[in-house]
């Protein structure tokens, strides 16, 4: 397969465009998806300005290519967006809904967690709800407390939902295509600080399976488990430690749900020491989920206490000075690795 350097943003757009071209039942639903074209500005109509692709810029070009019936621009009404996507998924479409910031799940969560996620079970297996909810997660851009959260822990707690959080452009494309083709509702979390990061990405469509962790680097001494933007920080710490001869294995689960339990446990079994890095929450987060998994199922192979590196139990602060301290840093990961080795 031919590949090229693509940003995480481009990789996502690629996935959307290729799946829309392949399957006429795939539609995009979201706010401002044809921004610049909506409304009835007479001075613009003739100009054929390309829609800017939503505030994320991710869908740029899709409206021009597929038109208003498949790139569906909506009012600012997330509850109707997600509910409509769920209803459409039940009845023959494969909608991809853009939630912009995942933080907005608070205004539309019922449609996702009580409806879409539960249809199949409540209806005794007689429904499928193939939909994707895409949106940004993550701190780092001074977007403040209501635009910087990473609630994938909340989504992963919901039986019926699948939850994906790619850490690089290659994974993003393959996992998003999988998400669109998947017959279950998928929450696809895009970290806002990764959009401009590039990787070598195949030009053609490909899928990556859910529930398969990626060992972004292999190592013998300590397992560091990290997701999404935290993977870079983990690798940064690992680089630093490698210079001192400390060999760190970095495991990126890629999908929070399903979780590659085996992949995680295997690495833990081989190193016996674990650092979990997680941006979601200081309480009841994905990090705690991993710690529970390991402490219940790999207790025997642990040679040191698990180290959990999360943000503090505070909202995300606005000021960059505080926000940088809020985020798990490479330095904190490094310190945690050393701590597990000191036991």
């Amino acid at each position: 397969m031919a590949t090229s350097k693509k940003t995480y943003r481009e990789a996502i757009k690629d996935a959307l465009a290729q799946e829309m071209a392949r399957d006429a039942t795939v539609v995009q639903i979201g706010e401002d998806l044809r921004g610049g074209q909506a409304g009835t500005n007479p001075d613009l109509e003739t100009k054929k300005i390309e829609a800017f692709g939503g505030v994320l810029g991710v869908t740029k070009g899709l409206w021009t290519e597929f038109g208003s019936d498949r790139v569906i621009d909506t009012p600012i009404t997330e509850s109707a967006i997600i509910g409509m996507a769920a209803g459409a998924a039940l009845t023959g479409l494969r909608p991809v809904a853009e939630l912009m910031f995942m933080d907005f799940f608070g205004v539309c969560y019922d449609a996702l967690y009580n409806q879409a996620a539960k249809f199949r079970y409540m209806f005794g297996g007689k429904a499928r709800t193939p939909m994707v909810v895409r949106g940004m997660i993550g701190a780092g851009f001074s977007a403040a407390a209501q635009h910087s959260q990473s609630p994938y822990n909340v989504f992963a707690a919901v039986p019926g939902l699948k939850v994906v959080a790619p850490s690089n452009a290659y994974d993003a494309k393959g996992l998003l295509i999988q998400a669109i083709r998947d017959d279950d509702p998928v929450v696809f979390c895009e970290h806002k600080t990764l959009y401009d990061q590039k990787a070598e990405v195949p030009d053609e469509a490909y899928t990556l399976p859910f529930g398969v962790a990626n060992y972004t680097r292999e190592g013998d001494d300590v397992t560091v488990i990290a997701l999404s933007a935290m993977v870079n920080r983990a690798n940064e710490a690992a680089d630093k430690l490698a210079a001192e001869g400390i060999s760190v294995e970095v495991v990126d689960p890629r999908t929070v749900s399903p979780l590659d339990e085996e992949g995680v446990l295997e690495s833990v079994a081989s190193t016996g020491r674990v650092v979990i890095v997680d941006e979601s929450a200081a309480r009841c987060g994905f990090g705690h989920d991993l710690a529970a998994l390991i402490s219940t199922k790999a207790f025997g192979s642990l040679r040191a206490p698990i180290e959990l590196v999360t943000p503090p139990h505070t909202p995300v602060p606005f000021s960059p000075a505080l926000e940088q301290a809020w985020l798990p840093s490479a330095a904190r990961i490094e310190a945690a690795v050393r701590k597990t080795l000191a036991v």
Binding site: D69, P75, I82, M84, A86, G87, D110, Q115, F123, G124
Partner: protein, 321 residues
């Protein structure tokens, strides 16, 4: 009222089945054998049937916690419904859903819904599917007067207008949300006018009168099917039982309920509106009899049926995981 004899009989049968189903459930519930909560539809039969008689099996409806009537009107199997309500494996949802989650996509029933105001946004999704796939399909959602105050309902209305979706929003105004009066909870002078202000045609009809509902729904469904966008129908009809089985109904007197049953019986009103030369009273009586027998049989089967096997606990969460 240009329905032919066959259509009249079919509509009456649906209403009669709903009545028999709900009246019987009222009794069954008293035995303590029905798990959870049930909300009965008696008194509102003309609304579900008046709307659904305008829909094809390939059209979709979204429903409420008070969903039995909608299910029957849309063609759900009565045995399957009854078994579901009893929590049995033979139920339409294999006992996993219960009264508030009965669904059957094969007849276009997107599910009862235990979240008040849940249906409209799902139903506009079905309407979007129809529009996108260009199959001429239509969707309808049911919401109560209480539920009509939920924000998501208004969002769905606006979305439907903006996208010109083929949908009919049915608001069933039965005078109460639980024990709270519509006159208290709806600040607007008029539920239909409120919907109209979102930019769509909206009408108020007597929900005890099948023909009034049917006419309004026919017009609305036609509009939707021909690309004319959404409509709201507010249909007014009181429920005869409590909010749920067990409700002491402090908010109204037994006399008021008796009066209701005497004067606002959708089945009796239906009969009175049909020319006795077209359909004889005995024919209606026979249908009622058949409905009760149908429900009898359903109860017997449901009671005899097995609970789901324990291993079913873990199935049907995902298509694949």
């Amino acid at each position: 009222m240009s329905l032919n004899r066959q259509a009249l009989l079919r509509a009456y049968r649906r209403m009669s089945e709903i009545r028999a189903f709900e009246d019987r459930l009222h009794e069954e519930n008293a035995t303590g054998d029905i798990p959870g909560f049930i909300h009965l539809y008696s008194g509102q039969e003309a609304i579900a049937v008046g709307v659904c008689e305008n829909l094809a099996p390939t059209d979709y409806i979204g429903s409420t916690h008070r969903g039995h009537g909608h299910c029957i009107a849309k063609g759900c199997d009565i045995d399957g419904m009854m078994a579901e309500i009893f929590g049995k494996d033979a139920g339409l949802c294999h006992g996993k859903g219960g009264s508030m989650h009965i669904a059957d996509l094969s007849v276009g029933m997107l599910g009862a819904n235990a979240i008040v105001g849940g249906a409209p946004s799902l139903a506009i999704g079905a309407a979007l599917s129809a529009k996108t796939l260009g199959n001429g399909g239509v969707a309808a959602s049911f919401t109560g007067d209480g539920g009509s105050n939920q924000g998501t309902v208004f969002e769905a209305m606006n979305m439907a207008v903006v996208l010109k979706l083929p949908i009919v929003f049915v608001i069933e105004n039965n005078g109460y949300g639980e024990a709270t009066g519509t006159d208290y909870a709806v600040g607007a002078p008029d539920i239909a006018a409120r919907a109209a202000s979102f930019g769509m045609p909206a009408v108020t009809v007597d929900g005890t009168d099948f023909f009034a509902v049917h006419d309004a729904a026919r017009e609305a469904v036609e509009r939707a099917r021909t690309g004319g966008g959404p409509t709201t129908i507010e249909a007014q009809a009181h429920r005869w039982f409590g909010h749920f089985e067990g409700d002491a109904q402090l908010y109204r007197t037994p006399e008021q309920v008796a009066e209701l049953r005497a004067t606002q019986d959708p089945l009796r009103i239906f009969r009175s509106r049909v020319d006795a030369r077209k359909v004889k009273a005995a024919e209606f009586d026979a249908i009622d009899e058949e409905s009760r027998a149908r429900v009898d049989a359903a109860v017997a089967k449901a009671r005899a049926a097995a609970y789901p096997p324990a291993e079913n606990l873990l199935t049907d969460v995902y298509v694949s995981y």
